[in-house]
């Protein structure tokens, strides 16, 4: 639905601050269109951009006003847990954070994805194989505390990182249906539980 709604704008509109010519951009879209094919769950329509993806497809970030517009729009997508419970089981959360699998054309189903958090974040005291695209989240709960505000913010960040930084490198785990609500609860526990290796040496 949402993913295909931008199909129509495909050959029109340039990204806001793009310096090249309209012709080159039309040629670019045609090139993208003929260069990719569906393979398994990785369907061809994945090549068609959402509006904000397009705004964020430049060397430089879009202008401030555009960033703010995107963030406000993305904030609206966040669904907080209906039962008001934010925390699952940190042990399961750790597994989800560790697994980087899911959503490629070699995966059989679009469900059962990992969070891939370790690809980008340092998280626990004992895992040394972590990426550095995102900031360290070591001792997250200990350092940030667990006020309602920080809990709600963290949920939102995991659900849709673009709500807080329009062109964030971090995926929209909830909004793009990468993770389920339950999986995100497990991750919350992993980040906040004092017994989790994120917070406990």
């Amino acid at each position: 639905m949402k993913k295909i709604s931008t199909l129509a704008v495909l050959l029109l509109a340039l990204p806001a601050a793009w310096a090249g010519s309209e012709d080159t951009y039309a040629e670019f879209k045609a090139m993208m269109d003929r260069s990719f094919k569906t393979n398994g769950i990785a369907a061809k329509h994945r090549m068609y951009q959402l509006d904000f993806q397009k705004s964020c497809s430049q060397e430089k970030q879009p202008p401030k006003a555009e960033m703010a517009r995107i963030e406000a729009e993305q904030l609206k997508t966040i669904r907080y847990p209906a039962d008001g419970k934010y925390f699952g089981d940190w042990k399961q959360g750790e597994k989800i954070a560790t697994s980087g699998r899911g959503l490629t054309w070699t995966d059989k189903t679009p469900h059962d994805n990992g969070g891939g958090c370790y690809n980008c974040h340092q998280m626990s005291h004992h895992e040394v194989s972590y990426g550095t695209i995102g900031p360290s989240l070591l001792e997250y709960g200990k350092v940030r505390g667990s006020t309602d505000e920080i809990i709600k913010y963290t949920w939102g960040k995991i659900y849709n990182a673009k709500a807080f930084n329009a062109c964030s490198n971090m995926p929209r785990n909830g909004d793009a249906e990468i993770l389920t609500e339950q999986q995100m609860k497990h991750l919350m526990a992993f980040l906040f539980d004092p017994a989790s290796p994120v917070n406990k040496k």
Binding site: T24, T38, R46, M47, Q49, Q58, V128, S129
Partner: protein, 270 residues
């Protein structure tokens, strides 16, 4: 095809198996991999693949029962030395910008009468793609030590550079990634894998200039098309078609950014 995997697995186990775990284990692991690479540099396992490729280059094949020895990779018919250091380039006879692999497909078609489709449709490291990998290993070995020298003056090259740059920053798919997500900053890693900043000359030279490469982790020789394909897989996009224009455009963008850097092909990778 000879599979050098068994040598490698043993060597890797010896190098990495003894690493202690601890606070600096991640650094040690990286050091270990780098040391291991250096140790292998004298006896690159790709040599076996390249030797097979050389034989294949000289062996008559296809409906026309001809070898590839008259193939023009840009420096004249039959010139292999230094050729891949200057690819991609614009070729008058096809009217297209071509990378090494699409150019080899042209030669297979015109000289040998082989259908390029057989290469495009084969599975990685199987059938005609396995043969392609061997040919590539041979050709790129003959450019080892040269300077990356891609001529972007032709209007078609200029255009492909622009299109490649747009492709590099194109965010899409369920994870909103572009190439720049993983290769658009200095000194980043995914897990333990160092990511070159492909926007810079230095990063592009390191990244582009060391591919095609032998991958130690799975004992496979990968061409550049294979590398790009796997990055798009990690990007969670649909699959790029083998030899499609987006792969050529990205290659032009990367190679032109890398211009002046040193070619160390075939590379040795994790």
């Amino acid at each position: 095809m000879v599979n050098p995997q068994k040598y490698i697995v043993l060597a890797l186990a010896a190098t990495l198996g003894s690493l202690p775990l601890g606070a600096s284990a991640s650094d040690k692991l990286l050091d270990g991999i780098n040391e291991y690479r250096e140790a292998l540099a004298d006896g690159n396992p790709s040599e076996l693949v390249a030797a097979e490729g050389e034989e294949l280059w000289k062996t008559p094949r296809g409906p026309k029962n001809a070898s590839l020895e008259k193939c023009d990779l840009g420096l004249g018919a039959g010139v292999v030395k230094g050729a891949s250091a200057q690819l991609p380039r614009f070729f008058k006879d096809t009217g297209k910008v071509q990378d090494l692999e699409t150019r080899l497909m042209t030669c297979m078609e015109t000289l040998q009468g082989l259908d390029p489709k057989a290469v495009v449709e084969a599975k990685w490291l199987k059938g005609e793609k396995e043969k392609m990998a061997a040919l590539v290993a041979y050709v790129v070995t003959e450019s080892n030590g040269q300077k990356i020298k891609v001529d972007t003056r032709h209007p078609e090259m200029k255009k492909m550079y622009e299109l490649g740059k747009l492709a590099f920053y194109y965010r899409t798919g369920p994870m909103d990634f572009s190439c720049a997500t993983c290769h658009g900053d200095q000194g980043k890693r995914i897990r333990m894998q160092e990511l070159p900043d492909l926007r810079t000359q230095e990063g592009a030279a390191a990244g582009w200039g060391s591919w095609p490469a032998y991958r130690v982790s799975n004992g496979q020789f990968w061409t550049m098309q294979h590398r790009l394909n796997d990055c798009y897989r990690q990007q969670r996009t649909a699959e790029p078609i083998y030899g499609s224009d987006v792969t050529i455009a990205l290659s032009v963008y990367l190679a032109a950014t890398a211009n002046g850097g040193k070619v160390v092909t075939p590379g040795i990778k994790r």
